[in-house]
Symmetry: C2
Subunit: 560 residues, 2 copies
Amino acid sequence: MTEKNNYLKIVFLGGLGEVGMNMMALEWKDKILIIDAGLKMPEEDMPGIDYIIPNVEYLKGKKENILGFVFTHGHYDHIGALPYLLPSLWHPKIKFFASSLTRGIILKRHEEFKDLPRIFVKEIQDKERIKIGPFFVEFFKQNHNIPDNMGLFIETPVGNLLHNSDFKFDSDPIYDQPTDFARLEELGKRGVLLLMSDSTDAEEEGHSLSEREIMENLEKVFQMAQGRIFAATFASLINRIQQIITLSERYKRKVLIEGHTMKMNVQMAKFLGYLKIKRNTLISAKDLETLPDSKITILCTGSQGEAEAVLMRVVHKQHRYLKIKKGDTIIFSSSVIPGNERTIQNMKDGFLRQGAEVFHYKMMDIHAGGHAKKEELKKMIEIMKPKFFLPIHGQFSMLVGHKKIALSLGIKEENAILAENGDILYLKEDQFFLEKGETPSNYVMVDGLGVGDVGEVVLRDRKVLSQDGIFVVIAVIDKQTGAVKTSPDIISRGFVYLRESKELLKEVRKKVISIIHRATLSGKVVNFTYLKAEIRNQLGEFLFQKTKRRPVILPVLIEV
Amino acid sequence: MTEKNNYLKIVFLGGLGEVGMNMMALEWKDKILIIDAGLKMPEEDMPGIDYIIPNVEYLKGKKENILGFVFTHGHYDHIGALPYLLPSLWHPKIKFFASSLTRGIILKRHEEFKDLPRIFVKEIQDKERIKIGPFFVEFFKQNHNIPDNMGLFIETPVGNLLHNSDFKFDSDPIYDQPTDFARLEELGKRGVLLLMSDSTDAEEEGHSLSEREIMENLEKVFQMAQGRIFAATFASLINRIQQIITLSERYKRKVLIEGHTMKMNVQMAKFLGYLKIKRNTLISAKDLETLPDSKITILCTGSQGEAEAVLMRVVHKQHRYLKIKKGDTIIFSSSVIPGNERTIQNMKDGFLRQGAEVFHYKMMDIHAGGHAKKEELKKMIEIMKPKFFLPIHGQFSMLVGHKKIALSLGIKEENAILAENGDILYLKEDQFFLEKGETPSNYVMVDGLGVGDVGEVVLRDRKVLSQDGIFVVIAVIDKQTGAVKTSPDIISRGFVYLRESKELLKEVRKKVISIIHRATLSGKVVNFTYLKAEIRNQLGEFLFQKTKRRPVILPVLIEV
């Protein structure tokens, strides 16, 4: 590696080739700066898993080299893995930097993990320039759908990097400054060696919607609504929460905040000055009965159909005090995360059945994503005029789409790199190249208290169990004679309903006894491993013939 | 029920309040006519299930009253449940009616079920009018994305019903006649008491795309493609298959058909004259090597990311002879069925990584659904001028959307009914009303050879097993002393990786021994059911504390 000592190394620990779990390391002569530490929600084929976190194998043994973490914004796909990674990465000199709201969210979440070391997060301001080891990091405000989102202009020994966080351009945001193009141009003029740019919406044509347009559409819903309004959105979408609250105030509605994370975020954002809420706007559950329906907004979580969230409990009539009435209006003010479509459709149907009106982003623009679309991405490249280009944040097809945009603007093919988690990039004044898969990038899964202890084997077992269930056969064998004592016991879960399958079970018992007797009564020494394998194979074949199902078969043999 | 003897009964066995599984029964004084018998794919929370089929509990004991089945078209959501339902519904006098292609598909599929009685399906023509008991059914051609699709004009003792199958209006279809509006108007003029109309796209604005537009866009891809083209679509989308074949012929490409169902359908549609294919167009696998890449189209299944389909095997490099090369072009010419988004995205990423170009319907219009959108649905209602209106085929929100359309055109609120599976509708010249949930409508699931034997219990077990796995503890207890003989055995699947959890298992063994000894050594008579419950509870609590996971715990106690 010494021959690459004059290169800046950029190591992707997450977020490249997938959505979520953003984390990268910049390394200059053994000094490491980390940007973000996000988590990702599990995929459909990972039953029981809570989160996926970045694989930090690369940092093993380099803990002392880590100067610190810089965070771009407070969304969980940028900060959420920190508590799980700290036990292996923390040392007393490590530094953390974040803007005010981001810092608030990080620390609030940190409180929920009792066993972790206390951390000090330095609050940084827009335009602030800090020195961290060999790097100077300058922060610049970027519009997104959470306030206090910061892009990073990073001066390194090889040249300037621009990391634009998650961003969109918004000339007309709500309670926020419009994009400061002059500032961006000023940064561009200083010379950008490498632009790392958000690819999430690189396959989407045109411009992202302005929050002003969203506001106008939401207002139409407020004008129409006769009864209560249930407005569901992400708890982290502070801007949208502000819009709902402002509209409620405008239409003389009081607002009940429902859902643990939503409550927590509103409380903190309000405390830090990122939410403007009039006195008397917020109410508590007991106030619901004293107000007419037309004066009530319920701001809640669950727009993605999350099983435990408020909206799901309401639609399933399992919420303690919120029940849908005819005339209620439900607003889904969020996009649909891929994979949740069916759940959300079923939820929509449920509300309609109960007599509510439902509004969602497919019907009118009551949600805007937080990410720049093609035209904005072009503009970003045109402003920064980078020599080298790296599309970040996104599934592979998005990175490909973003690279095409860069090429269309004259970036040279060899200067725009498609990289993925686990790849290491090497950067110098006049060179930018990649070595593929240099560091492990397999998923690290969090399940309950376990971090990384559920691997491929356990996950494969879970999937097999879920397909056809499990079938346990217990036989007690006489040590002296080799005969099966009493009829074998059978326990099964998820295979067939035992009470209705007596005939099948009778045959199974007969079959098991005959397999054992053929082995044990022959007089030869019996190998139990072999005998168990025989039962698994023959019984498996038999059950498949009878049912075309393949349950996991567990033979338990006990010699007495 | 006698007081309702003068009503036509319409019983929904499926397809109302959900997509797929279409089946209804018309009943007049104990004579029953069935329309369609479709299946539905399982939802995400039904692991291991192959299909869902209509619940025909209502027809129990009325088998002899069934006059016959009329099928509208050959898609599996309209014909696919027939083989599973026949064992309980068939009698020697039952009649089946379908158009030529639909009949071909039904019979071809029937061949795969060896144990079923042979069925005779009478082939019907466009404009044919047949008498079935008290009903006259007249067939009329409707455009959809499979040829030979028939709407039904049904004369009943109470008045005329119009059932428009799945349909869209297409003034410019490919190898098919455009919508015959004169015919539709003629039917409308005869007087339609009740219109039952396809709601699938009732929430979509505007008009469906014409197949001509799709053709033009597909042609652009053919013009650009340098290497091989992999065109993936549904095996049942005969029109799209024709388009791909025609374009291949136009651009001097030979076509390899891959995938069992695709092959079967192409063969049959060709035989029946619904596909026009030049001699020498179709090739077999061994011809691939003799042709330049630019002269090859591979028409295949798997556009939905089905695990076993051709496209999935290709992207995972598991196909026997098809491997992606740089320069290949992949066309996903189909919509994304909700729930498949992530799988398809991952597949797209996989092809891009291997150097292929990917085109899908979000990038350009290379797929059109087969269903009428708002403007077409309006036109249908305007032509038929029904007194009563029933939106069919669709999730509840689609039915609601369709009803709104009807109301906007002057249909009276009380004359447009929202019904769901299990509801029974009563129709007379001047009356149309519903009784809710009169017949069971819970899902009947097909799993392997079992039809309806996987119920809620088994499914719940499968889900629990998939979350945190299973944990089996086996203890042998001395009948005389109550002591546990040797250390308890532990088998676990899907919970933790046993080899890496030695410490935990040691504690579990100690815990189990102590629970048993506390009960057995006390001298009291031991109730094994109680003891097992104790182990389940205490061990469950212990494992949750240690791991925050809740595996299924199976205690096996053996007394010797």
